[in-house]
């Protein structure tokens, strides 16, 4: 609970800053309703990005809860986007390609999991190698992929692709963003993850493993299997995020699609209350944590900050948020 207060405070401040910027900058002649409309439009843009971040954050957070780490997330996102593009371009129906890509992501996670649990390799190392491998695999598949290329090659798929795009990304056939569907996807997935994490036996196993793998093993938990599963889920979610990226973007470039996302996902998870020592985290926290970076980036962009200033401002804000969070937790702890 208290783990959530810090990130909530941070988010509140950022959103307040955002709305304040719009209100302050509203031209004198503009009616308030118009300002509100513009704010809303911008918040939808942000929510859309938050949704996709959130999806991978969920996966990263689960891995972190079990005491692991996955640095291959960004590469898997890129790979999956490219794979989806290549598959559909070559005639695999989008409705088939979607589960296929997600399954493929899951397979990647299974390989990661096997290497980590069977060969007892360090997760950092395995997934760092994975980062190279899957990035390379994407490049071997294609240089770039795009909806237009797919539709050109497979005109029949236009409708189904557009359907997926509307349902998963919220963009209509003209490309207009109607609603932040990706955020809806995130909420649905977060509910599922939250159920498993907080309401089912599996969640207990994951927390137990994260805190004390040996104790979990001695209590009869199949530690290897559970850990492997968590990697599967993480990479499958990255696979889904890849499809979202494909559907949302003008085009995806194999060498860079999804770049840095593993860091952002881990950041979101940690801001949301996961400890990299394992054993801590909540589904609500993950969603909140994932919301931070996109709104922060939006805020600095909207305020027209000089590009050279942006990284510093982002870094310092995140740090301030982290410190705030720590103080709130200390307070709470002292009170009890």
């Amino acid at each position: 609970m208290m783990r959530i207060l810090g990130v909530l405070g941070l988010l509140a401040a950022l959103y307040a800053g955002l709305v304040g910027t719009y209100v302050d900058n509203a031209p004198g002649f503009e009616p308030a309703s118009r300002t509100q409309e513009r704010i809303q439009g911008n918040l939808i843009d942000v929510a859309s990005i938050q949704g996709r971040y959130g999806v991978i954050t969920l996966g990263a957070a689960l891995v972190i809860i079990t005491g692991g780490i996955d640095l291959s997330i960004g590469a898997v996102v890129g790979f999956s986007a490219v794979l989806f593009g290549v598959l559909t371009e070559r005639g695999v129906h989008p409705f088939v390609a979607l589960p296929l890509v997600v399954a493929c992501g899951g397979f990647v996670g299974w390989v990661n999991g096997l290497l980590i649990t069977r060969l007892k390799l360090q997760p950092f190392l395995v997934t760092l190698c994975g980062m190279f491998v899957y990035r390379g695999a994407a490049r071997l598949l294609a240089g770039t992929v795009s909806r237009t290329a797919t539709v050109e090659a497979q005109p029949d798929f236009a409708g189904s692709l557009q359907f997926l795009r509307y349902v998963l990304v919220g963009k209509d056939s003209t490309g207009e963003l109607q609603f932040p569907a990706q955020f809806v996807v995130l909420l649905v997935l977060a509910a599922v993850v939250g159920f498993f994490l907080h309401r089912s036996a599996y969640g207990r196993y994951w927390f137990a493993i994260g805190h004390n793998e040996l104790a979990a093993k001695y209590a009869g938990v199949n530690v290897d299997r559970q850990r492997a599963w968590v990697y599967v889920v993480c990479s499958a979610l990255a696979g889904l995020a890849g499809v979202l990226l494909f559907l949302d973007s003008a085009y995806v470039q194999a060498d860079s699609g999804g770049q840095y996302l593993e860091l952002y996902a881990i950041l979101g998870a940690v801001l949301g209350g996961c400890s990299l020592r394992g054993g801590e985290g909540t589904a609500v926290g993950m969603v909140l944590g994932a919301m931070v970076l996109p709104v922060l980036e939006n805020l600095v962009t909207i305020r027209g900050l000089k590009s050279d200033l942006i990284p510093t401002v982002i870094g310092l804000t995140l740090l301030a948020g982290t410190i705030l969070d720590e103080f709130i937790r200390r307070r709470q702890r002292a009170r009890h």
Partner: protein, 337 residues
């Protein structure tokens, strides 16, 4: 055992990043390698550490490559290192020049000139002036500096050349005036080559410019125009917000053909590759006649195209987007990936 490879010279080309732009170049280079019977290694390095190219070039030199083509990133700074290369091998610069490096010739356009062509497209899109936003990956490399400079030079008038001020109808926006054009924030918006950031940059800009008439968004790296278009679509502003691009990204060309993007300035990377290998192959056999002089002409692509023109003593073509796209695909298809 030793192979008798004496007959076939080895040449290498190294680019400044990974990009579909360079896939086209690679296609041209491969074609030329076949045509002129050389062994070609084409390297698109992932950006990172300051000197991404040097270790590769050094390795090639130590392997006795007879010629090397380089897309220079920072001409002045790299000159010394390139001089050493030119001493031990034949050096051709392409895409970005380093004139004093001892290279035998440069294959590529003048990025500043090409930037000016972009500026003219902006003027065409907004003949009465308006609000302009520039988008680019980075402003530290030579082309990242030359292109925006060219655009702004073309827009500027002597009295309004970077004059700081506030937007006439939206005073909360600060920026700079270049002629009748207001550049938002007074600088290009940078995305550090992260494509998703390029998209969110464009989106946020549209959100800020909501309601402002006569807007033109300019994307100066290959992935920028499609990212801008995607953002413009997401706000249902296609046609209302003008877009001008750079480079021959397929998405850009398609959008021009559809009338969603005003136009783009292209460099013909296929020929960069072809020509560079041709020169290197000739040099390896002692033939100096293939060298090219001056910078190559860029081309300006719009939906309807137009007649050739001579601009600043360069012969410039104005192809139609559809035609150019078709030709480009043939080039790509000529080499299987």
């Amino acid at each position: 055992g030793k192979k008798d490879t004496a007959a076939k010279p080895k040449v290498g080309i190294i680019t400044n990043c990974v990009d579909p732009f360079w896939d086209l170049c690679e296609a041209g280079a491969n074609k030329a390698a076949k045509d002129f019977d050389v062994e070609l290694v084409f390297n698109q390095p992932k950006s990172g550490d300051g000197d991404i190219q040097k270790p590769v070039i050094d390795a090639w030199v130590s392997q006795g490559f007879s010629g090397i083509g380089v897309s220079v990133i920072k001409p002045k700074e790299q000159t010394d290192d390139l001089k050493l290369v030119a001493k031990k091998s034949v050096l051709v610069t392409m895409d970005n020049d380093a004139p004093d490096s001892g290279r035998v010739c440069y294959v590529g356009v003048d990025n500043k000139e090409a930037g000016r062509a972009v500026g003219r497209l902006v003027k065409k899109a907004l003949p009465n002036g308006g609000t302009v936003a520039l988008f680019i990956g980075s402003v530290t490399s030579a082309n990242g500096q030359a292109r925006p400079a060219g655009v702004l030079e073309e827009l500027a008038t002597p009295d309004k050349n970077g004059l700081a001020g506030r937007h006439p109808s939206r005073p909360e926006l600060s920026g700079k005036f270049y002629g009748n054009y207001f550049l938002v924030d007074g600088e290009p918006k940078i995305d550090d080559m992260v494509k998703e950031k390029a998209a969110s940059n464009a989106q946020a800009m549209l959100s800020r410019l909501d309601g402002v008439p006569d807007v033109c968004m300019v994307g100066l790296y290959a992935y920028n125009p499609p990212s801008i278009l995607e953002a413009v679509r997401s706000k249902n502003l296609v046609g209302k917000v003008k877009i001008v691009g750079f480079d021959e990204n397929q998405e850009t060309l398609k959008a021009i053909a559809d009338g969603h993007i005003e136009g783009t300035v292209v460099q013909d990377p296929y020929n960069y590759g072809y020509k560079t290998v041709e020169v290197l192959a000739a040099e390896a056999r002692g033939d100096k006649t293939k060298r090219v002089a001056g910078s190559a002409p860029y081309q300006v692509i719009t939906r309807d195209g137009g007649p050739d023109q001579t601009i600043n003593s360069l012969h410039i073509k104005f192809p139609k987007a559809g035609d150019y796209l078709t030709a480009m695909r043939e080039q790509l298809a000529s080499v299987k990936r």
